[in-house]
Amino acid sequence: MSDGFASLRMENVRRVFGEQTALRGLDLSISGGEFVALLGPSGCGKSTALNCLAGLLPLSGGQIFLDERRIDLLPPERRDFGMVFQNYALFPHMSVRRNVGFGLVMRRVARGERERRVEQALRLVRLTDHAHKFPAQLSGGQQQRVAIARAIVVEPRVVLMDEPLSNLDAALRLEMRTEIRRLHQELGLTTVYVTHDQEEALALADRLVVLREGEVQQIGTPEEVYASPANRYVAGFMGYRNVIPAAVSAVAGGGVVVRAAGALLRGVAQGGVGGGVDVVVAVRPSDVAVGEGENALRGVVEIVEYHGREQAVQVRLDDGTAFHVRTGTRLAPGDPVALTVPAQRVLVFAS
């Protein structure tokens, strides 16, 4: 780990592109050594936030501090942040070794020390055998590892990663994900990771920041965000695939009874939900059980996808709503089914 710092703070950071506001006052504090994921759909401002941190985009407002030092006016080359780009951005005319050594050359690190650190970084990402090759001769996963080695070899204060896995195929993505987690555990480098993939964010990060249209929706640990999303958008992003409109018919303590899809459902109110208000209920497909019971919905199986141990089933409910279910029960299109959801897994949000 390089010179430690206590916190990296973004205070009311705004960024405007012409008419479009990409970031509306982002407040975020990152502690040294932490792995933070910025999560959201495309256009939510997560990449903008990262580029502002890196110094590649000037801010339209707000400030960035590293401990008490203001850094948002420093050019990128003086921030000492490493960045891994979505397209890797390897220098195509340099060998792997020279790519990795570039940052050290720029920092005027003496040759012997430079060579030692490059070798160490290449060993860390398991590319020692490919050091003499050029980027075009490497596979996507290898290029990605070069990009990571190049960013971490300079022992940056912060590593910024901009969707580093999105250009890889599924198998490689899982492998590299583990690799990134391993590097973070070994080196303890403060990392800000941008992704639109909730699974990636949950797997990697110590803390998630969910963004939507340039605004923070929720900040929390993976468990917090996964189990109790702050609003319907976060819920939708966290795998609550069924978000259906409902009306509150009774409120009792934390529990609430709503009318949704032609049935009465008991659920848990998230935030203030009053009687007679329009709300939505959010249910994860994997929380739904097939069979009669309490909190039941009825419909007809429409589409069945085979996923090995489970099936992903789309059920057309009696009122015409499409409802997604993951179940081990074998179903076939046309089967009438009853579905039940435990009341504590039915989340009710203000719409």
């Binding site: 890196a54 780009f85 951005a89 075009a136 250009n167």
Partner: protein, 290 residues
């Protein structure tokens, strides 16, 4: 069986017919005239050996020196055009406010034509032009600088007409370089000069070689401005003037053809040398994924 698949595999299909017009033009308007001129150059008007015209050219300093005179104009002009186009194009790469306006302004000289450029040069740089008037006025010089009707006039003219080509080519080569490479270099601690020196320039160099070749070829065949703003019987007696005079003033077509062939060989040699240097550079992809 060697059927349609066999042909398609080797790129033989009806789309190939699209090449016909181009082929007709190349053969009719390039290959045939060149070969005709080549054989003509070996049939000296005054008799003599097979190579008589070539021997005459290299024996006569008045003819021979035109090679050097032309190179002395074309090489610096091409070099200046390339070198001047790089910073301008570098600044205007990517999205820049007013880029279209500036690009238009920079490219306008192409549309003016040599004659208008020459008139402008005479009016501006001539003995009674603004430039000299200003310098005289502020007392920097005592008598007008001679900047037209000599070497400098032609060089200026070549720069004015050649720069837009160099600029447009350089700009398009620069646009082909993935902008995230420079960003990556910046996050790794490279200031703008070192980003340019270690990342952009090496990737741009092969394109600059091509740009140099094209502007050199344009400048080497300079003819009108050598007359209009040069000294066509003296220090700007370029090789195309020699060819023109032989063929059309002295009606010695074979000698004119021989000079044209020599002109072509000189250009091919220079271009060949530049391309040889280019082949030592990195010439692969310039995108981020390598």
């Amino acid at each position: 069986m060697k059927g349609r698949h066999w042909l398609a595999e080797r790129g033989v299909d009806r789309v190939l017919l699209l090449l016909v017009p181009g082929l007709v033009f190349v053969v009719g308007l390039f290959a045939y005239p060149v070969l005709y001129g080549l054989q003509l150059s070996f049939q000296p008007k005054e008799g003599g050996g097979f190579f008589e015209n070539y021997v005459r050219f290299f024996a006569d300093p008045y003819l021979r020196d035109t090679i050097w005179i032309t190179l002395r104009l074309a090489l610096p002009a091409a070099l200046i055009n390339v070198v001047a186009s790089v910073p301008v194009a570098y600044r205007l790469r990517g999205r820049v406010r007013g880029k279209r306006f500036l690009t238009t302004v920079l490219v306008v000289p192409i549309t003016l034509g040599t004659v208008l450029t020459a008139e402008g040069l005479i009016g501006y740089l001539g003995p009674v032009g603004w430039f000299n008037k200003i310098l005289l006025g502020i007392g920097l010089i005592d008598e007008p600088l001679r900047l037209v009707h000599n070497y400098w006039g032609v060089l200026f003219s070549l720069i004015i007409t050649g720069f837009p080509f160099a600029f447009l080519l350089t700009l398009s080569y620069l646009s082909g370089i993935d902008p995230s490479l420079e960003k990556a270099a910046a996050t790794l601690g490279a200031d703008w000069w070192r980003r340019f020196r270690y990342v952009t320039l090496p990737l741009l160099a092969p394109g600059l070689a091509i740009t140099f070749c094209l502007t050199f070829v344009l400048a080497f065949s300079v003819f009108p401005s050598a007359y209009l703003v040069g000294l066509p019987q003296g220090e700007t007696r370029v090789i195309s003037i020699a060819a023109y005079e032989s063929a059309f003033r002295d009606s010695d077509y074979p000698l004119g053809s021989a000079i044209a062939m020599i002109m072509a060989v000189v250009m091919v040699v220079v271009v060949g040398l530049v391309l040889l240097w280019r082949s030592t550079l990195y010439r692969g992809a310039t995108g981020g994924k390598g």
